[in-house]
Symmetry: C2
Subunit: 328 residues, 2 copies
């Protein structure tokens, strides 16, 4: 019997999960839940029903794993523990500083209800975190580097859109090649924020807006842009739609470290992602961890887990013998 | 209390484990076991004793994890199940085709004695296998590529040394850049053996040996060289010692795959290693999995496991809360 997946929240991420379920023959989409009017949603999958978010608990016997596709700022801190009362849950909570408290909240709810909750699943946190952990464990004497991009940062794009006179904007985070090369050389360089990434902004200004003022506001925005070498391009709405419609992203996790009795040998471990669609890749990781949540629950486990707590074999549709034969 | 590590076999790998233990403050080297005369070994670590291999069982209460540093051809198939009767064990068994039977033999011994055995630990099998599994689980619609090098292949170097008239040799496996680039483009190319790697051989011939004949023998050696573009250089013994003393290796695991309702988006996941010392890196992975074996045994688990069966958190000296805070 296929693993019955529920989706709560049908934005880019929810649609991505719907597509990921289609790529995993051992899963089926059971239902989608939304805070919008259910009648207003048109799914890609035929024959699947859309319900109001508040009706989710009533469907608890029809869904094996609920994948939460809301945002980390306000949705998930409430939704994940709430839904863990009724379902095994998986989310992509990505506010790094608040992970400990989110973990505790989901752990309490999931333990009380006997479900499994897996939080902070995606690529960072997620696959990048895994690679940081493995590399740290293998090379304890070393140094970590994470680079992001080239890709669209939604947070930075939103920050530009909030500036007076800006109609729309798209911001790309770009790792600096010379910094990547320095890290790959194994020389363990100290790199400032400015030395690691540049930021490139494509801005559609309102008619008659003061472009110089918009540019200055961007360049001096603290945290977001002031510490970076930032380029601002003003383009038309048509150009934005034509050339910047995608949501690519990616990045690099690199650790270099030493081995040998006198640290005489250097090693470089590098993991990188080049993603055409940030939300669809994140959704694909969510789907794999939904499989793990289902299996762990079947084994009688409960409580909150992160990607660190889950043996890789739980992510695959293949059994242990097949994995050892084909992938080990 | 530190995890007490035993080493069986004190070649390059065993010495590497000794160095890795020094880099992990929660471990200590308890003893080294050898089939040579124990008095003939001089360890790097002060105050640690060397015993004959057959005395290992008598030390079973003094060692938490025995790391087996023998070869896969004849040592490990016998040693790992043998030692699993007395110890938690970790090995780097790398004969891919025989992993299923090795797993079964170690599983039986370890279950009977209540120990944990972790086999096929290192980088391939090992870290490369993990990356194949994760990438397969996340991108079920995709294609895997593994490239090795640039690095020294011991097996190929040995094959050359067995040729009449050859005094010594070193063989490098080199991935072909254009193949790597084609894979990274996401185009999922079909690549022949010859298109993926070249082989470069540095050969010291015996005085008066027929170099043309040696070259021809290498170039036409089935399995080892015949399917590759191979270059043979004759050099002096001094040059071999001076320029080819290291044992570097590394490689790339790349998976590209599609997501989206109509497979409209491409993604590339790449993991790579650049290693100054193949045995020392392998040893570092063995040490991390020794920590996992110790902890799993403390939890009451037993039987054989591969890297697929072990949650990443078990590899780290940090606890769950610290991992979530610093690496997630």
């Amino acid at each position: 019997m296929a693993i019955r997946i529920g989706i709560l929240g049908y934005g880019n991420l929810g649609k991505g999960v719907e597509c990921a379920v289609r790529h995993n023959p051992d899963m089926e989409l059971a239902a989608v839940f939304t805070r919008r009017d259910p009648a207003s949603l048109e799914l890609l999958t035929e024959g699947v029903k859309v319900y109001a978010a508040e009706d989710a608990p009533a469907k608890k016997d029809e869904i094996d794993v609920m994948i939460l596709c809301g945002g980390s700022a306000t949705d998930l801190p409430k939704q994940t523990p709430d839904m863990a009362k009724y379902f095994n849950v998986v989310d992509s909570f990505d506010t790094h500083a608040r992970i400990p408290e989110h973990f505790d909240a989901v752990d309490e709810a999931a333990k009380n209800s006997g479900h499994v909750g897996i939080i902070s699943v995606g690529w960072d946190p997620g696959m990048f975190s895994l690679n940081r952990l493995y590399a740290n464990a293998v090379l304890p004497g070393g140094k970590d580097y994470t680079f992001w991009g080239k890709g669209v940062s939604q947070g930075h794009s939103d920050a530009i859109r909030r500036i007076e006179g800006v109609k729309d904007a798209r911001q790309y985070t770009i790792p600096i090649d010379s910094a990547l090369e320095a890290v790959r050389s194994g020389s363990n360089p100290e790199l400032s924020i400015r030395q690691k990434h540049t930021r490139e902004c494509f801005v559609v200004a309102e008619k008659g807006a003061d472009q110089d003022k918009i540019r200055e506001t961007i360049l001096h925005m603290p945290n977001y842009f002031a510490d970076y070498d930032t380029t601002v391009h003003f383009i038309s709405e048509e150009e934005l739609r034509r050339d910047h419609a995608g949501i690519p992203h990616g990045g690099f996790v690199i650790r270099s470290g030493k081995t040998g009795w006198e640290d005489e040998h250097s090693h470089v471990i590098e993991y990188s992602l080049k993603l055409d669609s940030n939300p669809e890749f994140t959704s694909s990781v969510l789907a794999a961890y939904a499989r793990a949540a289902y299996r762990l629950h079947q084994e009688g486990q409960s409580g909150c887990k992160s990607v660190f707590d889950i043996a890789p074999a739980y992510l695959s549709a293949l059994d242990g013998a097949a994995l050892r034969k084909h992938l080990l």
